[in-house]
């Protein structure tokens, strides 16, 4: 059984059809990319999977559990985490706190223990800090743990966002344009990094990206969207030479103007 099964998902904004009849089956451990020009509906799909939007039609299923209609926080606890196209860190909080917050649903102490700092509070907080710091050190951010997130350089902010997402213990990680704003060199490093976290954290990864260098380099399968519809899918090299895809990106060639 696939880890994530999306069937016939359609979503409207007002009268506009942002995603139409989207299907995807993600096997555990896969690394799949969704590409397509601006405004093709890619981020909308992430918002539908994570419960930020509620699909107008269709079903989204995570190892047997229907996700449509569940709240984003609930879906996250079921094992889906994500990053954002335009980095959404908690800017005025420290790097450590950013990761600690992602432990919210795992901390097993009650509001009363929160108010009085008794019971499991001490032990749990110690555990959360240690786990957070471990994660940060994996991402080479541990020395910055007490900086405010907004003061981090751009690349580190991107990494912190992934670290924060991993703190929720996901099975499935959704990366929304992780390479945005990076130069070719940084993209090479990011590719290594994504491969490596997939192994190390046992993840299934779905990513949206414009930087073809990255997508072609690491994705096992691709889905190409344009105007909310899937226009192509297959292996990276197939996609690269698919005329429909070329047209979606570069515009049509020839023809009367």
């Amino acid at each position: 059984m696939p880890l994530l099964q999306i069937d016939h998902v359609t979503h409207y904004f007002g009268g506009l059809c942002a995603v139409s009849d989207f299907n995807l089956a993600l096997e555990s451990g896969e690394l799949v990319g969704i590409i397509g020009p601006n405004g093709a509906g890619k981020t909308t799909i992430f918002n539908l999977i994570t419960g930020v939007y509620r699909a107008s039609k269709g079903s989204i299923n995570l190892s047997g559990t229907e996700l449509v209609g569940k709240s984003p926080s609930h879906i996250t606890t079921l094992g889906i985490a994500r990053t954002f196209q335009n980095i959404r860190l908690f800017k005025d909080l420290t790097v450590l706190d950013n990761v600690r917050i992602a432990h919210y649903s795992q901390a097993s102490y009650t509001p009363w223990e929160s108010l009085l700092h008794v019971g499991r509070y001490q032990a749990e907080e110690k555990r959360i800090i240690e786990h957070s710091m471990e994660l940060l050190s994996v991402f080479k951010l541990d020395h910055l743990s007490d900086e405010l997130a907004k003061n981090l350089p751009y690349g580190s902010q991107r990494r912190l966002e992934i670290a924060r997402a991993l703190a929720t213990h996901p099975q499935l990680l959704l990366l929304d344009e992780p390479a945005a704003g990076m130069n070719p060199n940084e993209i090479m490093q990011l590719m290594e990094f994504i491969r490596w976290i997939r192994e190390d954290f046992n993840l299934t990864i779905l990513l949206i990206e414009h930087q073809m260098r990255l997508v072609m380099g690491i994705c096992e399968r691709l889905k190409v969207l344009d105007f909310g519809k899937t226009i192509a899918e297959g292996l990276p090299w197939e996609i690269q030479n698919n005329p429909l895809v070329l047209e979606a990106y570069l515009g049509e060639e020839g023809g009367e103007l």
Binding site: T50, V52, S71, P72, S73, T76, T77, A81, R82, F84, R88, L89, F90, K91, D92, L93, L96, D97, R100, I101, A102, H103, Y104, S105, Q106, A107, Y109, P111, E113, S114, L115, L116, H117, Y121, Q122, E124, E125, K126, I128, I129, E130, M133, S137, D142, H143, S145, D146, R164, A165, A167, T168
Partner: protein, 348 residues
């Protein structure tokens, strides 16, 4: 190097030593408690100043609790006096109409607690429909709530209607004020430095991201709002038994405005700020009394200037270090030390 030796830098250095010294805290608390008993006992300061000190304490409770919503959660609640009224009336009805008066001094802590619980429950009821949409929705609901509470009280003859309850026993003493103020500040501080509190703060930073990081935002909001109104109720109960007379007019929107000003003066998202804001505002109003009505002209000007030059208030988002729990302060450092130690030990 040029040695800065002005009185200001010396004073500032001293202040920072105190402000950042964790050991100062228990000493200050014990000292404070002793003083709170000694002052009325030996009349160390005149009764007028004692009264001001008690008002400062009550205002600290109000400011800190409102800061939880407006500063930490980033919502905009404007009707805090409404919750204060609930606590004040609940407790005053208990001491004047329900409990035998000879028991009042003994049961006073429970009476105050009852005031807090009543306000907390009302807060929960107000909160449930209020967080449906973001933005100024809460402002409007709490504003209306403040006016509704006032109006309801005016219409209940059994609790004095518009005339209020006169002859409330003066049960609020300096030690009790000290106790409740410290308790309120401590509990709210604890909450902020906990998993639930971090959830609340993340809502301020980015609600959608917070939700997607597994924070149950609805639960966190309800929790914060209940706690905030609980302490407003505590402050109301203390206030009623200090003023010895309460009426609906005391808890109108002007009172709520006062609390708002103290929060933003001291600084949003800061306990230290709330303590300072409440203290400075209350004391300044008394100190400036000789200016007569001009002080009421001056104070808003100060507020406007402060907002223009420090939009987040005096201590906005900053805290004295001794208020922060050790693990928040040192957690990362300890972890690093531990790591270095284990790295140094060769693996077998």
């Amino acid at each position: 190097m040029k040695q800065p030796s002005s009185a200001f830098t010396v004073w500032r250095a001293r202040w920072e030593t105190i402000a950042n010294n964790r050991k100062a805290l228990p000493i200050l608390l014990v000292l404070g408690l002793l003083l709170s008993f000694a002052i009325p006992q030996f009349n160390l300061v005149n009764p007028y100043i004692q009264l001001i000190i008690m008002y400062v304490g009550i205002n600290i409770i109000l400011t800190t609790s409102l800061n939880l919503i407006n500063g930490y959660m980033g919502e905009f609640s404007v009707g805090h006096a409404g919750f204060m009224a609930v606590g004040a009336y609940a407790s005053a009805v208990l001491t004047t109409q329900v409990l035998p008066s000879e028991l009042n001094p003994w049961l006073f802590p429970l009476v105050v607690l009852a005031g807090g619980i009543a306000a907390g429950l009302v807060g929960l009821v107000v909160a449930i429909p209020s967080f449906r949409t973001r933005g100024d929705y809460l402002a409007i609901v709490t504003l209306a709530f403040n006016m509704i509470v006032k109006s309801i009280i005016e219409n209940i003859e059994a609790i004095g209607g518009p005339r209020g309850i006169p002859g409330v026993e003066k049960l609020t003493t300096l030690p009790w004020t000290f106790f409740w103020t410290v308790l309120a500040v401590w509990v709210i501080r604890n909450f902020i430095y906990s998993n639930h509190g971090r959830g609340v703060i993340s809502i301020r930073e980015d609600e959608i991201a917070s939700d997607l990081m597994s924070v149950n935002t609805r639960q966190a909001k309800l929790l914060a709002f209940t706690i905030s109104s609980f302490f407003a109720g505590i402050a109301g109960a203390l206030f009623a038994h200090l003023l010895q007379f309460i009426s609906p007019r005391v808890f109108d929107i002007i009172k709520s405005t006062d609390i708002l000003i103290m929060v933003y003066l001291g600084g949003i998202g800061s306990i230290t700020g709330s303590v300072l804001g409440a203290t400075i505002y209350t004391v300044l109003l008394e100190v400036l009394r000789p200016l007569g009505m001009w002080r009421m002209v001056l104070m808003p000007l100060v507020l406007v200037l402060l907002m223009l030059f420090r939009p987040r208030g005096i201590m906005g988002l900053r805290e004295f270090r001794w208020l922060i729990p050790l693990q928040d302060l040192l957690g990362s450092k300890r972890w690093r030390q531990k790591k270095e130690a284990s790295d140094a030990t060769p693996a077998n």
